[in-house]
């Protein structure tokens, strides 16, 4: 019997898909970070976070239904929205490549209701992003 795969390969596949987009990579000066970006990172940058990952068991397999928040932090709203659109292009309906799981679905399901914020240096920054639903099937 195969070992149950966790959300880690899904996370890795999401980041790989983002990194595979040259226009997106050239647009983000601060890189891609999980959870929170370090203080001194340059804008704009991307932060992703796993929201939930419940398993749905079926006969002969298991589906991992993950939700990810992917946000852009930028110094102006235009950059933030443009990069968010690039992320959507890269991730929405993408087929993720994972070792032990099959990509079933990768879709943007919601926009994040976030707004401008002030960072530690007093600069106004804009957070724009969305929630992505990623389903991965594993045959057991």
């Amino acid at each position: 019997m195969m070992a149950l795969a966790t959300s880690a390969p899904v996370k890795r596949a999401v980041v790989q898909t983002l990194r595979a987009s040259p226009s997106l990579v050239s647009a983000i000066a601060g890189g891609i970070h999980e959870g929170i970006a370090p203080r001194k990172v340059r804008y704009p940058f991307i932060v992703y976070q796993l929201v939930s990952a419940p398993y749905r068991r079926q006969w002969g397999g298991v589906i991992l239904e993950t939700l990810f928040d992917v946000s852009v932090f930028a110094e102006n709203p235009v950059d933030a929205n443009n990069i968010d659109a690039l992320i959507t292009t890269a991730l929405n309906e993408a087929v993720l490549v994972m070792d032990e799981q099959d990509s079933m679905l990768c879709r943007r399901v919601a926009d994040l209701p976030t707004g401008p914020d002030i960072d530690s240096e007093g600069k106004r920054i804009y957070q724009v992003g969305g929630t992505y639903s990623v389903w991965a099937h594993q045959t057991l």
Partner: protein, 233 residues
């Protein structure tokens, strides 16, 4: 005669009630996931930080017997409470004790009495500015309850299902101002989602509840049927 309208109404009412139950399940899960700030950074003589250790000590002293509900109150009893023994209203007193402990910790912190004060720096600031003080609807004694921390968790509630036409909806609400920042994160803090995971985890259970309710109503909905037998000769 079969009153299909009455049967459909019975099914609908049962499904709405199940939706309400589902919302309560989500509320419970969201509360379990909502973060509570830990203000007590370092162990203090009155603050039992290591609950499990204390519980084990008590278990040993009692020859292996201890109630599950006694875990939270192990430690030194504050002087304003009855000395010794465990009381039936432990949870209420625990809230009171946390408040008293935090205030005492703040006083110690200000006076610099202890090298290792009960509150950490962040906790002292939270207590001083009363940001950590959450006054909720939970009753302590005869008044309104107050506790240190737990505001996010304490304010989550599920609304009763509302029906509009042939649709019903139920909301689980976290009205705390900073709930959004906890759910989605900010530049300074990572997200600690609590509402969406609770909803996602409960999805199947709620669908099951509603399906059961519909099944039950369609079975018992037969009581709305009245069979009229007419014999024609």
């Amino acid at each position: 005669m079969i009153d299909f309208e009455a049967i459909a109404q019975a099914i609908f009412d049962n499904a709405v009630a199940a939706l309400g139950e589902g919302a309560v399940i989500v509320e419970g899960r969201a509360k379990a996931r909502a973060r509570v700030r830990n203000l007590f950074g370092i162990e203090h003589e009155d603050v039992p930080n290591k609950y499990i250790g204390n519980t084990e000590a008590l278990r040993e002293a009692r020859g292996g017997e201890i109630g599950a509900d006694e875990r939270m109150v192990v430690g030194k009893a504050p002087t304003h409470l009855k000395a010794g023994g465990f009381r039936s209203n432990q949870r209420r007193n625990w809230r009171h004790r946390r408040l008293a402990m935090a205030e005492r910790g703040l006083a110690d912190y200000k006076a610099g009495i202890h090298e290792k004060p009960a509150l950490d720096r962040h906790g002292a600031s939270e207590v001083k500015t009363k940001r950590a003080l959450f006054v909720g609807s939970t009753k302590v004694g005869k008044g309104i309850g107050a506790s240190i921390g737990g505001r996010l968790r304490g304010e989550i509630y599920a609304e009763a299902p509302s029906v509009s036409g042939l649709q019903a909806e139920s909301w689980v609400i976290s009205p705390t101002e900073y709930a959004k920042y906890m759910e989605f994160g900010t530049r300074h803090n990572r997200a600690f989602p609590f509402l969406r995971p609770a909803a996602e985890e409960s999805r199947e259970e709620i669908v099951g509840l509603i399906a059961d309710a519909v099944r039950e109503a369609s079975r018992t909905g037969g009581s709305s049927m009245d069979i009229e037998i007419v014999v024609r000769l």
